[in-house]
Amino acid sequence: MSSLPTDTDVLVIGAGIAGLCTALYLARAGRTVAVIDRGEPWGDASGANAGTLSVQIKRPEVLNITRRAVELWQGFKAEFGIDVGFGRPGGLRVATNEREIDMLRRSQVEQRELGLDTEWLDGNRLRDLAPWLGPTVTAATLCDWDAYSSPLQAGHAIIQGARHAGVAILGAAAATAIAEVSPGYRVTTGAGTITARVLVIAAGAWSGEAARMLGIDLPVSADVNMLSVTEPTAPLLDRVVTHIGGILSLKQYPNGTCLIGGGWQGRGGLSTGVKEIGYENLLHNLRVAANVVPALARLRLVRSWAGFEGVVPDALPLFGPLPGRAGVYVNACARGGYSQGPALGHLMAELITSGRTSLPMERFAPKRFAA
């Protein structure tokens, strides 16, 4: 483990996907950057998600950010030599009843207006393309943007890549106090004190706590998302699978394991630090999965786990300057933030280095919640 530098251009609080990508692109732009984390780097939402990089399940407001992100995910290897276990098999977003088919149609029309074309599949065409789908699945849209990466592999790869780019990354270094100095901020952590001209709060579910150290209230709460992984098996499904109701996210990795998510909530919360499996919700999650892909019922479940994901009431990203605190930025709480992470990091680096972003991001500014 490296130690904390005493001084840096930019200090990023939070070593998840948003923080590490912000740091990576800032370092490439020539800034000295340090990233601190209260626990293990990559320890929460970035490590505890299904690895789905699905564009078509995103709400319209973040569709373009996610498309940008998929391109960056795909380019990590060529650009930085970072192997995140990326695959882009395209994804099926499925519907299992009339109401869901109706939702899926409306969503497809809406996405087309935003420039995202998906293919409508039903009947024999759907069976031919995905014979592994269960009989309850009656329609799906196919999106060739939908991809995946491996959260496990990506964590290690991005941490090493950022270190290679010169970023100092330190775990077990929770920020305990932030003081304004001139110029910049002095941050006291569990592993020493560091002064930075610019602060980026990318602490996911703990971003509210970090902002409070600067006297700003942000309405951040935590979801407790559950994930499950099966034993490895021979190739079974060749697409990323999601559900129009937002209740399933499923894929098979090259090592043969199937990862099952879908935003089902476990037990616990930030105040207690508890993040445990919710028994009934886990069974709901598994039932939906086995309903959509019946062969899953014969696979053994090997591990289920849960992680905190920061969320704000409108479930849109917190992205932009923290109101009233010059030089402090927030990049956190994007729902489905794993898939958007590289784009949000890239855009944040743009904002810090040039004051502008190449996609419109004003609507995500934290000031929307400032009283």
């Binding site: 483990m1 490296s2 293990e40 990559w42 320890g43 490590g47 709400r59 496990l152 964590g155 290690h156 941490i159 090493q160 709460s221 979801d223 407790v224 099966t230 034993e231 129009i244 109701g245 937002g246 209740i247 935003g263 089902w264 909530q265 476990g266 037990r267 616990g268 919360g269 499996i277 919710g278 028994y279 009934e280 919700n281 886990l282 069974l283 709901h284 598994l286 039932r287 999965a289 086995a290 899953l296 019922a297 014969r298 696979l299 053994r300 479940l301 090997v302 591990r303 289920s304 786990w305 969320v311 479930a315 729902r335």
Partner: protein, 482 residues
């Protein structure tokens, strides 16, 4: 949902003894066990189809077993064999699944009597077919009356080695050598007096030792297996001296031809369920490593969750039986059903104390090397499931990805179907040695359900109320209380 006074995981000695005591006081009891037949590892029985005349050395416990198993026919007992406890959704509830049945068993008290498994010690060749754990060899003998080879080396550390070796000899196999890492011979003299505290076990121990002497089995002490070799199965074992600080002198290794190598470096309590419940655990190498912190009534740090037998701390069958009875009695007393519990408790405690004195003596005799990391080469597989070698772990350590959690997530060590049972202890040793942090101070990866791999379809038999979902799938969902 099955509702009882006492829900027991494990139909081994501790679980059955607790059940017997509890039903004797009028409690309703559920016993869940993932084996098709009750008895646990120690009292493992051959299949019902085997016709036994009872005269065999291997049937010497038959009367005691029959008596212990009789409790399962009691009308107050719900017995669920072939059933896995895969989660503990609340500290009074076991989530169970087996065959066409899944659901929950709720008890006013829980007893976790999960038993133990062999402490994994990797060395070059330990993955070869024919290299069998001591527990595995015992199960083969007890459950099938079959020995794993015709010329067998028995190596490792601890009293179980001698039990296994003697049983193999009794079964007619050739035991080429017993290789014991601890220098037990020089310790035996001091230990005699305390061993007299439990004459019955002592007699048994002498019987084992005599069997080996009569068969002329060489007992090599202060030595360890350092490699198993063979093409498609083990053909020979290399042994070398090992010191108590773990250093191995390969320069003086010798080779013993064999077609089976039984390895046992002691047992480790299966504490996964206790971890999952959040019971406080302690670390005591002599009793198997991680173990349950308990009151003198066998209650864990979580109220009304009890732990007993080898699944709480390695102590052997007699201790497991006594602890189980104490738990049954205590739960009955708490529910006002035990009458003069004090007298019975004192008697059980007294027996337990005497047996524990014997156990401590044995523990002192067999105290082994502080670690076995000297057996590892770069190409030694540490995680059997994901095939992660020691060299791969060292490469991550060199990149400063050196905590247990980082080693696990970057190499996949511990992520396979054995769920870390065969490698986490080694990972802990490796990280502890490298960092100087005692094993008890390491940050362990969390234990998560399912505690055993289980087919997804097997979990879906329980009817549960439909979920409460928001109309807009993009909005956050409500957390689930259960």
């Amino acid at each position: 949902m099955i509702e009882v006074d006492l829900a027991i995981l494990g139909a081994g000695p501790a679980g059955l003894a607790a059940a017997g005591e509890a039903v004797a006081h009028g409690l309703r009891v559920a016993v869940v066990d993932d084996n098709p037949r009750a008895g646990g590892q120690y009292f493992r029985q051959p299949p019902a189809q085997f016709r036994r005349d009872g005269g065999s050395w291997f049937d010497k416990e038959a009367t005691r077993v029959a008596e212990l198993l009789r409790v399962l026919d009691h009308p107050s007992i719900t017995y669920l064999p072939d059933t896995v406890v895969w989660d503990v959704p609340a500290p009074d509830t076991l989530a169970v699944a087996g065959g066409e049945r899944s659901g929950r068993v709720r008890g006013r008290a829980l007893l976790i009597a999960a038993g133990a498994h062999d402490r994994p010690v990797p060395f070059p060749g330990w993955t070869l077919p024919g290299v069998i754990s001591a527990g595995g060899a015992q199960n083969l003998l007890k459950g099938n009356r079959i020995v794993p080879g015709r010329r067998i080396v028995v190596a490792g550390n601890g009293p179980l080695l001698f039990v296994v070796a003697a049983s193999l000899v009794r079964a007619g196999a050739e035991v080429a050598a017993v290789v014991e890492a601890a220098p037990i011979n020089r310790r035996l003299l001091h230990a005699w007096p305390s061993m007299l505290a439990a004459p019955k076990i002592l007699r048994q121990a002498l019987d084992y030792r005599l069997s080996l002497l009569r068969a002329g089995v060489p007992v090599r002490t202060g030595m360890t297996v350092v490699a198993a070799r063979g093409a498609d199965a083990v053909q020979d074992a290399a042994i070398a001296p090992i010191a108590l600080d773990g250093s191995v002198d390969r320069a003086v290794s010798e080779t013993i031809a064999c077609d089976a190598l039984v390895v046992g470096f002691g047992l480790t309590p299966s504490v996964e369920l206790l971890r999952l419940i959040g019971c406080e655990l302690g670390y005591n190498r002599g009793r198997g490593g991680w173990l349950a912190v308990r009151s003198d009534r066998m209650e864990t740090s979580v109220a009304n969750v009890f732990a007993a037998g080898d699944g709480a701390a390695i102590g052997g069958v007699e201790i497991a039986l006594l602890e189980g009875r104490l738990v049954g009695l205590e739960v009955a007393a708490r529910l006002g059903r035990a009458g003069n519990a004090e007298q019975r408790r004192a008697a059980l405690r007294d027996q337990l104390d005497r047996t524990d004195k014997f156990r401590r003596a044995i523990e002192a005799i067999f105290a082994g090397p502080s670690h076995y990391l000297g057996l590892l080469t770069a190409d030694t597989v540490v995680c059997r499931c994901e095939e992660v070698t020691h060299g791969e772990l060292q490469a991550r350590q060199a990149e400063a990805l050196d905590s247990m959690i980082q080693l696990k997530s970057t190499t996949r060590a511990g992520m396979g179907r054995c769920q870390g049972r065969n490698c986490m202890a080694t990972l802990a040793s490796i990280v502890s040695e490298a960092s100087g942090t005692p094993i008890a101070g390491l940050n362990y990866p969390r234990t998560r359900p399912p505690v055993r791999p289980i087919a997804i379809g097997d979990l879906l038999h329980e009817p549960i109320p439909p979920p409460d979902l928001p109309a807009d799938p993009h909005l956050p969902r409500r957390q689930n209380a259960s």
